[in-house]
Symmetry: C2
Subunit: 207 residues, 2 copies
């Protein structure tokens, strides 16, 4: 499975930003519009609610053969038999998570060359590099310049997804840099037509 992951359009969910009523609906529309990976992010919900949601979303991603990745919670990923987890710098260390996740996917958020190299050494399957710009979901994050992004790309071999302020206008700044995909939240889920937004942003990135 790992060799075949297509990171082109990596959707992160956001319950507060989405234009539709349910996370399931936003995922369905985004995947129908061309999202190739889905990361389920939840805060302030119980473990039971997170698990139940993961099970429901996985029915959708399975149907479209898209990997479902759980933010932070390796137990939810294991319990709902998801493809993997995405770990921030304040989540479980990648090396520790690897021990309990076997060969499931592990992505790690990084913003420096040092973090990127360490994540690769610790067994990460891919990196989420950012934030590239200020965003509504992350306002206190350190930003990554294009120069640092290029340095990270040169320093590691594993796939890189860029995140943080990537939208229809900004994505062109990162073409030709060897980036494997763009991670998008609001530029897809907050649009009135999620399917069309996903389709359009994928077209702009891949054309």
């Amino acid at each position: 499975m790992k060799d075949r992951v297509d990171y082109t359009l990596y959707l992160c969910t956001d319950r507060e930003l989405m234009s539709c009523d349910t996370v399931e609906q936003s995922v369905r529309e985004a995947v129908e519009g061309g999202a190739t990976v889905v990361q389920l992010r939840e805060k302030d919900v119980s473990s039971l609610e997170f698990y139940d949601l993961a099970v429901r979303v996985k029915e959708i991603t399975d149907k479209y053969r898209v990997p479902l990745i759980i933010n932070d919670r390796a137990d939810i990923a294991l319990a709902a038999d998801c493809s993997g987890v995405h770990l921030g710098q304040s989540d479980l260390p990648c090396k520790v998570a690897r021990k309990i996740l076997g060969d499931r996917l592990i992505g790690v958020s990084v913003s420096t060359v040092e973090e990127a190299v360490r994540a690769q050494q610790d067994g990460a399957d891919y990196l989420g590099v950012g934030a590239m710009y200020p965003t509504s979901t992350k306002t206190d994050t350190e930003f990554v310049t294009k120069e640092v992004l290029a340095d990270i790309r040169a320093a590691v071999d594993i796939p890189i997804v860029i995140i943080g302020g990537i939208n229809q206008s900004t994505l062109s700044n990162f073409k030709g840099m060897g980036i494997d995909g763009i991670a998008v939240i609001s530029a897809i889920v907050s649009k009135p037509d999620i399917r069309a937004a996903a389709c359009e942003i994928k077209r702009l990135w891949t054309e």
Copy 2:
């Protein structure tokens, strides 16, 4: 290991109620005073902080050969190689947690006969029954009468720990009911001398 768990004095940690500076110190003193099981409860900390704390506390509980149980988070329990998890009714379902935890301990919080029977059917190793009284940590919880506690004891075979308002004064109300242990938070960790409080409450319960 499971057959040998002594539930007599089950300590739950609480960062906000403890009289000393660190969770590690409160656990050390409680275990030295006679706590036989420790459950680590954390809210509003990152997964990394929770994991790091679990690793530090486990050094103490291992030294005293006391099981360390993690509240809610099966991933933290697996990552820090703890004895098990304790699940509330809004955490992962016991049956699901069992699949990812192998033969580690699973405790389930219940307040009705139905919940107790289901937890046993779903593979729980022990039950936390409560709240027996209003407490500073749980104010919105449904209370369990002595009659319901007796019904639960009659309905299941697995060990029962009672929780919620159990202290030096109230514990005598539950003697002779076939209860395996008392779960205590503030009656131990909020006392100026945690070691002495644990020792005293254990003496009162077992005498």
